[in-house]
């Protein structure tokens, strides 16, 4: 009689916030490298990136990319005078009225596994005309399980 072990999972909160100044036209990349032998998946997300102070044109974006190759990604963007604010609880967006966007977000989260070899990169792009001096709050709730050998 064969026995298939039930994968053991746990929930891990991760704070990937940053208060580094991002000059106009530049970007900051926050790469999350899970422990070796572990598989992580985003189960919940909170982001709050205020608009750059003094900006008068352009936009800013927050991209979630699984590194190399960059096939799977999610983009949150806003104009220069608006903040990026998202709350996702268990793959369901609470702030969007657009069901298409909500569906693509859900798809990203459902397949958002990343590991020590395929890391998650969170990229903040400041394409406005002012330096971003405001802190960007990025909180993740990840589901951790053991990676297959």
């Amino acid at each position: 009689m064969s026995y298939t072990p039930i994968p053991k999972k746990k929930i891990v909160p991760v704070d990937a916030s940053s208060d580094t100044t991002v000059p106009a036209g530049s970007a900051e990349t926050i790469t999350i490298q899970p422990p070796q032998g572990k598989l992580w998946r985003i189960a919940g997300l909170y982001v709050n990136a205020p608009s750059p102070q003094g900006a008068s044109t352009g936009s800013h974006k927050l991209l979630f990319i699984r590194s190399l190759p960059q096939w799977n990604y999610l983009i949150f963007s806003a104009n220069y005078n608006a903040g990026i604010y998202k709350r996702n609880v268990c793959q369901g967006t609470m702030d969007l009225g657009d069901t298409t966007e909500r569906a693509s977000e859900k798809m990203f989260f459902e397949h958002s596994y990343f590991s020590d070899s395929v890391k998650l990169a969170i990229r903040y792009e400041n394409s406005t005309d002012a330096d971003q001096t405001n802190p960007r709050v990025i909180g993740l709730l990840v589901e951790e399980e053991d990676e297959a050998p």
Partner: protein
């Protein structure tokens, strides 16, 4: 996308997370990775922080600034490439490892 440094006529490729704090490397994007052709495709990435997480994870922070156009041309024309092992940390060690 590839990242690394230009050293003695070769592009030494490695992951920016292998940098130590304050060190820099280049990041080059392929045209299909850009949202618009007018976007800069070569950046200078500087490691600003490395934060260990209680779970055993590590969070790496890098600032990316567009590289000057002259530098972009030089980097895109380099043909010789060598990959550094992923377990080597710091520019000095990466170069030392490649030279051995």
């Amino acid at each position: 996308m590839k990242s690394g440094i230009y050293f003695r006529g070769k592009f030494i490729e490695f992951d920016p997370i292998q940098l130590e704090k304050g060190e820099k490397c280049y990041v080059l994007y392929e045209p299909y990775e850009l949202e618009e052709p007018s976007q800069p495709d070569v950046f200078i990435a500087e490691k600003t922080k490395e934060v260990p997480h209680g779970s055993g994870a590590v969070i790496h922070y890098h600032l990316h600034k567009p590289a000057p156009p002259k530098l972009r041309k030089i980097l895109k024309s380099v043909k010789k490439e060598v990959k550094a092992p992923t377990n080597v940390k710091g520019l000095r060690n990466i170069i030392k490892h490649i030279q051995e």
